[in-house]
């Protein structure tokens, strides 16, 4: 119940603070102020040009890892109860994880380009 209130209050807080700021702050605008930031010089390009995203592969590898780590959590919780097979199964699972990791590493997913 308290959580619901917290949700509402935080949401309200955000809206109230932002709108108060809008009310209290000055509104003196001019065309230059509305331009994207460019260290004081005239804006150099009008839209964002395509540019290479470094380490985009990292995002894919992350997906795998994060999901696999999530699977570890319930396992770690009941690790003591199911002694024998738990370790072996997770070692096999971890081996697959490690194999993927080494593969990604060797293939240069973590290099600059």
């Amino acid at each position: 119940m308290e959580l619901v209130f917290v949700f509402l209050i935080f949401g309200l807080l955000g809206v109230v603070l932002l709108s108060m700021n809008a009310l209290l702050g000055p509104k003196k605008t001019n065309p230059d102020k509305e331009k994207p930031f460019e260290c004081g010089s005239p804006y150099l390009q009008n839209e964002i040009k395509p540019f290479p995203i470094k380490f985009s592969l990292v995002a894919f590898v992350f997906l795998l890892f994060d999901i696999e780590v999530v699977f570890f959590f319930p396992w770690a919780l009941i690790f003591k109860e199911m002694r024998g097979p738990a370790l072996v199964i997770m070692l096999a699972y971890g081996a697959v994880l490690a194999a993927g990791f080494i593969y990604a590493w060797k293939k240069g997913a973590f290099e600059w380009d």
Partner: protein
């Protein structure tokens, strides 16, 4: 019998795939062939283990994975197919700028997906296998990374495939909601029970069928097939033409044959599939007439073949289907193998015009190719005739005579475009220079084996039919 042995063949394949991936990252470019040998070794190991499990009826994971004889027979089929694909691909990938060791690893993973698909009667596991298969297939299609068509085919396959998977999962959700079961016996019991809730159940089943229809390329869910077949590297195309199709049909017949027997042979679903089968055969063959690219033509021909196989499913004829699939594997891999034979470094000869005069310039390859084409067209004494014959007879016995008439008509149409290639090979003057890489022993081995298979199964199919009899006992 609950035994860990049921998982071991699968583990061998998956383990080999992982090792291949790891080695691929460490091996030098010129040593990539070792990966092929390793993969073949794993296939042989898996084959021996599966052979030991024959008639064993092993199950594991509370019956989620069951190695009945049907599953084992199909596993053998896939093992042979993947071994053939590896053999015909070894030289090809280095010639066609696709020399990535992942080829072998992905093939093994796809194989494991196929094995999972056919050795379960639970739809969640089947779906799991399907996804393992699909994801590997998407990457395989894009193996020629610098080739536009290959990339196009990978992306198309991926988009269409994910779309189909979404249909499948949605259908499964509806089925689970209405039938409270996702294993095939449970579903059949639900449909047998009576007409309550069946509307929703049939909707779910229909969506599942749509999902599978995408995967096995049945008209009107076939749109991806020609582009994917054309763009993908040829050995991969050979794999696509048999692997996913066979597994999809195995699941369909496991699901539908009991359903028909439960008294739904006059139901809406049956009529729906009946119409699809007729449409698939006619459309596939008619569109194939207009193709000048051989790979595209084979794509449409494989769509048409899906139609013939659907007849087997409609007739509930498991033995006929397995026999058909076996023969189709030899014909299809043989035909694509012949296409690979007609290539050299950086160049493949896939246009119809390239084939003019090939029959005289390269008499052996021409002759072998001609046999496969005749078999695809269904001429006796090749196996292609026998395959269609068995299925058609079974269908007539089940009272599907109109459908069989359409099928015969369609396969008459197909004779035209298969023979057209032969006509080009033997009765046309060469229009352009065709020079091919001759040294490719692994490929010739596969061509020979496929030729042997096509002729053996066409003349003396007894042994295989005996095995199929044993396998089908488990299927139905």
């Amino acid at each position: 019998m609950n035994s860990f042995g049921a998982v071991v063949p699968l583990l061998v394949v998956v383990g080999a795939a992982l090792i291949v991936f790891l080695l691929e990252a460490f091996l030098k470019k010129e040593n990539k062939n070792y990966l092929a040998y390793l993969s073949l070794l794993a296939l042989i190991g898996c084959g021996i283990l599966s052979a030991n499990a024959w008639n064993g009826g092993l199950t594991y994971f509370d019956g989620m994975l069951r190695l009945d004889n049907a599953a084992l027979f199909l596993t053998f089929l896939f093992l042979i197919a993947v071994a053939f694909v590896i053999l015909i691909g070894m030289k090809y990938i280095s010639l066609q700028d696709a020399n990535h060791g992942e080829f072998y690893g992905l093939l093994l993973l796809a194989l494991s997906g196929l094995m999972i698909m056919v050795s379960s009667t639970h739809f969640i596991v089947i779906f799991l296998g399907l996804e393992v298969l699909s994801v590997s297939s998407y990457s395989l299609a894009g193996l020629k990374r610098k080739d536009d068509k290959s990339s196009e085919s990978a992306v198309k396959y991926f988009l269409m495939g994910s779309f189909a998977s979404a249909f499948l999962v949605f259908g499964l959700a509806i089925l689970f909601g209405t039938a409270q079961a996702l294993d095939i016996p449970g579903l059949v019991d639900f449909f047998k029970a009576g007409p309550d809730n069946q509307v929703l159940g049939v909707v779910g089943l229909g969506l599942v069928l749509v999902g599978f229809a995408f995967k096995i390329a049945i008209v009107p869910f076939h749109m991806w097939a020609p582009d994917v077949y054309e763009g993908a590297p040829t050995p991969v195309t050979a794999f696509f033409s048999i692997g996913p199709k066979a597994a999809g049909f195995a699941v369909l017949i496991r699901l539908l044959a009991p359903y028909w027997n439960a008294g739904f042979r006059s139901g809406k679903l049956f009529g729906f599939l009946w119409a699809l089968a007729a449409l698939t055969m006619l459309a596939g063959n008619l569109i194939a007439l207009r193709q000048n690219n051989i790979k595209r033509m084979f794509a449409y021909s494989s769509i048409a073949y899906a139609g013939y196989m659907l007849i087997a499913v409609l007739a509930g004829d498991g033995a006929g289907l397995l026999f058909f699939l076996t023969i189709y594997m030899f014909m299809s891999i043989g035909a694509f193998g012949s296409l690979i034979a007609l290539s050299r470094k950086g160049r493949e000869y896939n246009e119809l015009g390239d084939f003019a005069g090939v029959g005289f310039k390269y008499p052996w390859i021409g002759a072998i190719f001609a046999v496969f084409l005749l078999s695809l067209a269904g001429f006796p004494p090749t196996a292609g005739f026998l395959a269609k014959f068995y299925v058609f007879v079974a269908a007539v016995n089940q009272g599907l005579t109109p459908l069989v008439l359409i099928a015969v008509l369609a396969s008459l149409i197909s004779v035209y475009y298969y023979l057209r290639i032969i006509v080009y090979m033997y009765m046309r003057e060469p229009e352009r220079e065709v020079s091919i890489e001759m040294e490719n022993p692994a490929l010739y081995l596969v061509l020979f084996l496929c030729l042997y298979g096509v002729l053996q199964l066409g003349l003396f199919p007894g042994n295989v039919l005996y095995l199929i009899k044993q396998a089908v006992a488990a299927l139905l």
